[in-house]
């Protein structure tokens, strides 16, 4: 089956070019049997967004991206894209914050969220830039996708957030979260159909003390107590690290395969 799939990268601020570069590499290393024709574009306007079948929200400053999105009239279309049209979306770092239904430690006065993942993220969980780090992480979903079994992935964490809580699935706003101090939530969307999928944890980083002891050591896969750094709910995917800052294209290939699968079963508008 031939498919033309347009993948946008939100280009309001941040490392969007790095995603585009890696997407182009990933497309060439795609399944050789695939007849998908990929188109990759920068998204700055509602018109550009509406031409996309899937979207990446890159790393950058989440406050900045949210403010610019609101001023460009993109915030509502983005919420519709993720939560009403249910198109595949991936957020890295700042993108993960924006895709969360709840976020703590945001700027004074809070910030706008897009939502889509029933999680609470803790912004800048690891601290300031001097606490940023690289660590090899184990991503079991790459093994399942036969993209280099047991090869650790180079995780780059820049003033990174983590998922600090998986929230119950609710229809509408996360009201329990809204009552918490210094926490912002994404507004509700009439979706028509409720999403049954719960949040899946796709990657963890071992406890911070262990991490600091051996910054570049291997991650203990059995350690369930680690910080959550990759999640998926239905077709919304979020990572607190930056695959786009590496030359390792596996996560991009995996995600494009997921997108191809979703778009193939969803008739075009």
């Amino acid at each position: 089956m031939t498919a033309n799939i347009s993948v946008g990268v939100l280009a309001l601020q941040g490392a969007f070019y790095e995603h585009l570069k890696l997407l182009k590499v990933a497309a060439t290393q795609d399944n050789p049997d695939s007849t998908t024709t990929w188109r990759f574009l920068e998204v700055r306007t509602p018109a550009e967004l509406s031409s996309c079948d899937a979207l990446i929200i890159p790393g950058g400053e989440s406050t900045t991206v949210a403010l610019i999105a609101a001023r460009c009239g993109l915030l509502e279309p983005l919420r519709d894209f993720v939560k009403v049209h249910r198109k595949p979306t991936w957020g890295t770092c700042a993108g993960l914050i924006l895709l969360a239904e709840s976020a703590s430690r945001t700027k004074k006065g809070g910030q706008d969220l897009i939502g889509g993942l029933d999680v609470r993220v803790n912004r800048n969980y690891f601290g300031r830039q001097t606490e940023s780090f690289e660590a090899e992480i184990h991503l079991p979903f790459l093994d399942a996708g036969k993209l280099g079994p047991n090869e650790p992935f180079p995780g780059v964490f820049i003033r990174a957030p983590v998922v600090e809580k998986i929230l119950p699935q609710v229809t509408g706003e996360q009201l329990g979260e809204a009552r918490l101090k210094d926490t912002v939530v994404a507004p509700a969307r009439e979706t028509g159909k409720r999403i049954e999928n719960a949040v899946e944890v796709l990657g963890r980083l071992p406890g911070r003390s262990q991490l600091l002891k051996d910054k570049f050591g291997m991650v203990d896969l059995d350690n369930e107590s680690g910080d959550i750094i990759a999640v998926r709910q239905h077709n919304v995917f979020g990572t607190s690290f930056h695959p786009e800052l590496t030359q390792d294209v596996r996560v991009h290939i995996w995600w494009l395969n997921q997108v191809a699968g979703t778009v193939a079963i969803t008739p075009k508008k």
Binding site: Q13, G14, E61, L67, I68, R71, K107, K108, R128, Q129
Partner: protein
């Protein structure tokens, strides 16, 4: 892919990324700032205005360059207490300036927890010959340049980000344009040279050969490159973006203008939509007075901050 293999084969790009793990983390933050505006602020209140306007980072300093020019005297690192207040007030990254060569000011800034240090010609230099050795620091550095050689010398010392020097505190964009065009022209020239010729060029511009070669292969500076020094309007910001910068620093241009919050927002919009003249026209209207500015052509050589450093 053939091209990539060639780069890896020569070792420079791949080796650096493999060896210098922490440099990837420094360069990573610089990449997160791309497409953004970094604003000079002198207190927590201004930092909040900048954050609400959509700044991707703030630069904490005691006096904006226009005031340093007007008031004279020795300009030093800001009061750590003031920087801490700004750090506690905003969630975006906080940068701060240290004097050229003043590595102890840098150690203090790192201890406070700033996210980026600008070893800046805007402050009075502390060392007539040496720039700070930046590799040993955990915190990343940004440094100014007027041309490719200067940019590559700073990167060689460990800078994770470069900015054009421009002429700070003037509101006159001519020097920022001059410096950006100089860098672009030298990169174009380097791209056309063979190995033997590149060695000669490296000697001529006083740059390490390996970094010059890497720049020629990439067709751009190996690190993120912002514009600085004279940006006063949304059009100035978009001009620098169209000339190939990755983002923009605005110093005196915002808080020396009539309506800082409005102008700051407009410049943020201009950097995102730098190729869209219709949006640029919309955001450029009704901003109140721009900073009055100084004509760089009328400055004496001793008054030019860009001459500091080498």
């Amino acid at each position: 892919m053939a091209n990539d293999t060639a780069i890896n084969g020569n070792g420079s790009v791949a080796d650096k990324e493999a060896k210098s793990v922490s440099f990837g983390v420094k360069d990573g933050l610089a990449k997160m700032l791309k497409g953004g505006v970094i604003m000079d602020v002198v207190n927590a209140e201004q930092a909040r205005i900048a954050e609400e306007a959509g700044a991707c980072a703030v630069m904490a300093l005691e006096r904006v360059p226009a005031d340093i020019r007007a008031q004279g005297g020795v300009a030093r690192m800001s009061d750590p207490q003031m920087i801490k207040e700004i750090i506690q007030t905003v969630t975006i990254p906080v940068m701060a300036k240290a004097r050229i060569g003043h590595f102890v000011e840098c150690q203090i800034l790192e201890a406070i927890g700033v996210d980026f240090i600008d070893e800046s010609e805007v402050l009075t230099p502390a060392d007539a010959f040496h720039h700070v050795e930046k590799h040993p620091f955990t915190v990343p550095f940004v440094c100014g340049c007027r041309n490719l050689g200067e940019a590559l010398r700073r990167i060689s010392e460990g800078a994770a980000m470069i900015r054009t020097k421009g002429e700070a505190g003037t509101g006159d964009i001519i020097e920022a344009v001059r410096h950006m065009r100089a860098v672009n022209a030298e990169i174009s020239k380097a791209k056309a040279l063979d190995t033997m010729e590149l060695r000669v060029m490296a000697k001529e511009i006083g740059a390490p050969y390996d970094l010059l070669k890497e720049t020629a292969e990439r067709g751009r500076l190996p690190v993120v490159n912002f514009a600085a020094g004279g940006v006063a309007t949304p059009a100035d910001a978009a001009l620098m973006m169209q000339l190939g910068c990755d983002g923009v620093f605005v110093g005196s241009g915002i808080f020396k203008s009539g309506n800082a919050a409005l102008r700051a927002r407009a410049i943020v919009q201009a950097v995102t939509h730098f190729r869209d003249a219709k949006i640029l026209a919309e955001v450029s209207g009704d901003l109140g007075e721009a900073m009055v500015g100084l004509n760089v052509g009328k400055l004496n050589d001793e008054e030019k901050l860009a001459k500091r450093g080498w």
